[in-house]
């Protein structure tokens, strides 16, 4: 019989404690992997999400709020800017594209955002990728009351081309606040895995001139998405100087990725705490392998003595116990990988529903190999304690009673 078969027999004989210990490793491992993957993926996803623009111009206020509001379609607007401001930035020689956004309405909780067709026709939400309408649909005609729905919004609202919608006032849905204006859905965007999927897009003028909105709304915008000309590295700084340092009325949120990164840097201490907790849980789980194996040594003294009497060397016994701890941790981590994939899917689903972003794949992260390797190595190391006890068992004393 090989050492592995002896180990397998022993684990089967102590199936319950083996199972419980492996399960605790699985939970700890899943927590460890999930924390690492989720914090990394969330940071990467949010800092990499810029909808294809370099900056956002909005009313004076927080840059983060401006980005959250215009790119992620979260948070309240910090205020409005004038149409002249849009015209000015549009004419700026450093600007390649400026797309206006106006918001303030919703369809059953999904934001209605007024914009220009250029958002779909001239910008790329990711390099080489433009928004595309599903077959049978088209983009809205700026002169008509037409709407294009993000894929997630269309799915949740159960709408298809040809259906009608009545936007409600405000960013949060409240029954009885519907505008009289009726918009016809003319297209559904193909999924882009960006916050745009959760939005109901209508022509800019449609939102500005919506029945019930003030006259002032017709002359204001919520924000302008700005793409700078390529190869002009100083343009962002110049506009930062102009709007943020010299001006007092507007905010220039640039570059979008760095603003989101600053948010994550600010809450970095929370990530460290999560890592610490996950690490501690992992250590406790590894300690449980030691405790469970160590305690079982008392019950197994006779068994070990018999093996030694049959000629098993101390090193063989030592190796068998270390291997037991390793196998328990390996089985635990395999289950832990499955659990972490489940946690990732659930959290990813929540993020998609709430924010509209899709986290990158679970499978490619480096923690998926170094995490289990560390856990299994720690368990093997922890197994040396009971292994040492096992190989010190007094053979003569633990065999049959002496005559």
């Amino acid at each position: 019989m090989s050492l592995l078969q002896i180990v397998w027999k022993s684990l089967r004989q102590h199936a319950f404690s083996t199972g419980v210990t492996a399960f605790s490793i699985a939970l700890a491992g899943a927590l460890l992997l999930s924390v690492w993957i989720l914090q990394d993926q969330t940071r990467r996803t949010f800092t990499g999400m810029d909808a294809g623009f370099d900056a956002v111009l909005g009313a004076r206020g927080s840059k983060l709020q401006l980005v959250m509001n215009s790119i992620f379609h979260l948070e309240e607007s910090s205020g409005n800017l004038r149409l002249e401001d849009f015209a000015e930035i549009q004419k700026n020689p450093h600007v390649e594209l400026a797309v206006p956004l106006a918001l303030g309405d919703n369809v059953k909780g999904h934001r209605v955002v007024g914009t220009s067709l250029e958002l779909f026709t001239r910008s790329e939400y990711r390099p080489g990728l433009q928004h595309v309408v599903e077959a049978g649909g088209r983009f809205f005609d700026p002169n008509n009351r037409e709407a294009v729905l993000g894929s997630f919004a269309a799915h949740k609202l159960g709408l298809k081309p040809g259906d009608s919608i009545h936007p409600s006032h405000g960013l949060n849905y409240a029954e009885g606040h519907e505008h009289e204006d009726e918009y016809v859905v003319v297209g559904i965007l193909k999924p882009s895995n960006t916050p745009a999927d959760r939005v109901v897009w209508i022509p800019l003028e449609g939102l500005q001139l919506m029945t019930g909105h003030t006259e002032k709304a017709a002359e204001e915008l919520s924000a302008v998405l700005v793409k700078l000309k390529a190869g002009n590295a100083t343009a962002g700084f110049l506009l930062d100087q102009k709007y943020n340092k010299e001006g007092t009325r507007l905010t220039w949120a640039w570059p979008i990725g760095r603003i989101m990164a600053q948010l994550f840097d600010k809450i970095g201490w929370f990530d460290r705490i999560l890592e610490l907790i996950a690490g501690l849980v992992a250590v406790v789980a590894v300690a449980s392998v030691t405790a469970s194996t160590y305690n079982s040594m008392n019950e197994r003294r006779r068994e070990i003595a018999i093996l030694r009497a049959l000629g098993a060397r101390r090193f063989t016994i030592f190796s068998a116990v270390v291997m037991e701890a390793t196998v328990i941790a390996t089985v635990g981590m395999v289950v832990g990988l499955v659990f972490s994939a489940g946690i990732f899917a659930v959290v990813g689903g929540i993020l998609r529903t709430q924010v509209g972003v899709i986290l990158e794949g679970w499978a490619g992260h480096s923690v998926l190999w170094w995490g289990p390797l560390v856990m299994v190595s720690l368990a093997a190391l922890a197994g040396t304690i009971p292994a040492w006890k096992a190989c010190r068992v007094d053979v003569a004393q633990n065999l049959s009673p002496t005559s």
Binding site: K9, R308, L310, G311, L399, S400, P401
Partner: protein
Amino acid sequence: MLLLNITELQKRFVDPEGKSTCVVDVPRFSIQAGQEVALRGSSGSGKTTFLHLISGILSADSGRITLDGIEMTTLSSSDRDRLRATKIGTIFQTFNLLQGYTCLENVLLGMSFGPGPDRGRARQLLERMGLANRMDYYPRQLSVGQQQRVAVARALANRPKLVLADEPTGNLDTVHAAAALRLVREICREESTALLWVSHDPTMLSQFDERLDFHELNRACAVSGIAL
């Protein structure tokens, strides 16, 4: 040919009160290859300790044990384990079968630490022990007599040079005890294996031509006053 030669072997133990007691003090003992020897002794006379010293489970405080030309007292613990696995087979009074292993696996396990598992040999031995239909049974599913036969098969599996039998029939009735002895002797003779049979049962001892009193062999018994 001399297989086992013991000279001036001593083993002492320290009791919980710190007093050192000599348990084994054997000036001379030897067994020839293929020889059958019965050793008679009462409980507490140090027979099991003596066997543990021969098998290398315990190390001697002084004296020499030479087995098949190898001086055991100079060997490392690991080398003694190896020697035990390859040259010695032990049959215990309490059988010492591993409960989580089937009959066949118990025999194979004994081989694993020696020359390596030989499934054919293990099966053949168990068949000879009348356990052909019990190979996949666990010890708890066997009668006491059957368990003892598995233990015998395991002790003989590695074709040892010497079989140490420590009160091997102590838990068996007369009929089963006689059958067990017959089987062990039969195979030992076939394979030229020496047999050291320790017992205090006169019926079993009477089966042997060569019988020794451990009390005469072990000077420690005379000192401690242990009666035969």
